[in-house]
Amino acid sequence: MDKVLEVENLSKVYGPGCPSCFELTGPEYNTNICPHCGSVVAAHNVSFDLYKGEILGIMGESGSGKSTAVKCLYFDQEPSTGSAIFFDKGRQHDLFNMNAAQQRHLANHRFGMVYQNPHLGLNFDISAGGNIAERLLMSDIDNYAAIRTRATGLLSRTEVLPERMDELPKNFSGGMQQRVQIAKALAINPPLLFLDEVTTGLDLSVQAAILDLIMEIQQEQQTAMVVVTHDLGVIRLLAGRTLVMKYGRVIETGLTDQILEDPQHAYTQRLVASAL
């Protein structure tokens, strides 16, 4: 199996930080706020490996640090400590030791990100096709006809009517906006895709369509994905392996089936039991 991503001891602290930050926070203290300095430990010692074609789920309640971990990996935020290595075409990229320009280049050319809120991932002032074009233009495709063809293909792939590609995303329904966002993220065939609560807030039939789409993409292109969600259904459907996070710590990790059928940690047990 080809490893795509190797994350080790990723930590993110908001605030000044002190030596006791990590000692006095976490699930056993039921807080992620350091009592000494008031810093928020959003994530601590998050480690995982991700392989080609694999979907890794990160599950947890809001504020557990799951989005923070993904945002650090997509360079939206800077981690406090930790390392992450991205394996690509026989090369290794040490994500947190690159300069900002290299990071942006890598994010533009090799990563895809789909946010919960389409406003974060799409530019609402330009057409749906323009949004996809932007992504293609970033990776140095400068043939208009080629861009049109590719954008049309992507939009039909994500079941947005190609006739509507020249409309502004604000005219679209939430589900359609999300599909345009996925099309944009897929534009450059990224080997690594981050999905941050992509189905949250959508109605059930639309959720199902988007989850189907994600699975098909994984099958077709062997894209490695990190899926962040608090929805056990999404985890069950998509993820092969899962991390469970609470107060910034990974409290349980393993095969999704195993975690859902036989949860070991008390929190996970409660989480699974409470699912309808």
């Binding site: 900002a100 320009a101 942006r104 280049h105 533009n108 330009i126 057409s127 096709g129 323009g130 074009a133 932007e134 233009l137 970033m138 400068d142 043939n143 208009y144 006809a145 080629a146 861009i147 020249d166």
Partner: protein, 348 residues
């Protein structure tokens, strides 16, 4: 009058700073170098950026030409020229492109090809082409640094989607030396190819925005475009497919301004570059501007120098009756592709 000011109005330190900035701009083609744009005795936005460059670079015995929209006798050119004459002893002014050492211009690059020993200074209102797609200057600097102009290209893409072609008529974003994209000042598309491998040094000064940048001689300048939708300049062919000619000189190879004759209601086309027009020989046309009618003493009698025909011309869109004096403001209808637009009096 001139004794009250140092040569070139600015003090030596100020001129030195401008020269150093210009040197840096030449060293990094297309990069916008910040400088401490001085207060000038005229409002920012009236060409103070270009003026400071001209004042810092002009030397005794040199010859200056000032252009506004291709014309030497429109108000911005006249005022800047008389100011420079007032503050720089022993310089000569001319309306001839051929004779000029330094040319300060607004909205046009002369039709006549410039030489290696000439220098053109362009007045710039908005130096950063990215300002339309990114509001934060911090982020714009990053985008420039990484030569990431994808968002500008998206604008071109959207233009083609909506109008089947790129509709930027002036200030066409142009990539210099394979890296920085510049706003080449509000020159029409027609003039953009003149930046490419230009023999003369092209300096651009933005007074209000406090930036100087340059297209050094023999430097690559490529307007942004798609591989399969290439850049093209204004098309002056009429409905019969014939290239329109200047009604004064008959030239069929220059950038034309469009006027409407208020008596006949007909459209009139005339060279935008007056020096070029004069040189082509205005004898072709009756009632044309006589060569040399321009008042070279600073334009105190400018109205008398303009074409008699122009006084009859009316602004097509605004339909304002104009007095001869107002004509100096040179509000001109420039004809772009698919886009006729009014370029207004005061610019950079």
């Amino acid at each position: 009058m001139s004794a009250a000011y140092p040569f070139g109005f600015l003090d030596e330190y100020a001129k030195k700073e401008v020269r150093r900035t210009a040197l840096k701009a030449v060293a990094i083609p297309g990069y916008q170098v910040p400088y401490s744009s001085r207060e000038m005795p005229m409002g920012r936005g009236f060409g103070t950026g270009g003026l400071q460059l001209t004042l810092a670079l002009l030397g005794k015995g040199e010859t200056l030409k000032v252009i506004d929209q291709g014309s030497d006798d429109s108000v911005n050119a006249v005022n800047l020229r008389s100011f420079i004459e007032m503050t720089c002893d022993d310089i000569n002014t001319t309306t001839s492109t051929e004779e000029a050492d330094v040319i300060q211009s607004r909205h046009r690059i002369p039709e006549k090809a410039l030489r290696e020993d000439q220098l053109i200074v362009l007045q710039v209102p908005y130096p950063d082409p990215l300002v339309v797609v990114e509001a934060s200057e911090d982020k714009r600097k990053m985008l420039h640094g990484e030569a990431d102009y994808s968002r500008l290209l998206v604008k071109l893409y959207e233009d083609i989607v909506k109008f089947d072609e790129i509709t930027i008529s002036h200030r066409y974003p142009t990539r210099i030396n394979d890296h920085y994209v510049i706003d080449p000042s509000p020159i029409p598309r027609w003039d953009v190819p003149k930046l490419h491998q230009s023999k003369a040094l092209i300096l651009l000064g933005a007074g209000r925005e406090k930036k100087i940048y340059a297209v050094p001689p023999y430097t690559k300048a490529e307007p942004l475009a798609f591989e399969d939708v290439p850049f093209r300049v204004e098309d002056f062919t009429d409905e019969h497919g014939v290239r329109r000619a200047c009604q004064r000189c008959g030239c069929t190879s220059s950038f034309l301004d469009e006027f409407v004759d208020s008596k006949t209601g007909n459209k009139i086309y005339q060279c935008s570059d007056t020096d070029w027009c004069d040189e082509q020989g205005s004898s072709n046309v009756a009632g044309g501007r006589t060569p040399g009618a321009m008042d070279e003493q600073g334009g105190s009698n400018v109205a008398g120098g303009t074409t008699p025909g122009m006084e009859e011309v009316e602004q097509r869109r605004e339909q304002l009756p104009r007095t001869p004096g107002e004509m100096n403001e040179q509000t001109v209808l420039s004809v772009g592709i698919n886009k006729v637009e009014v370029v207004n009096g005061q610019g950079a």
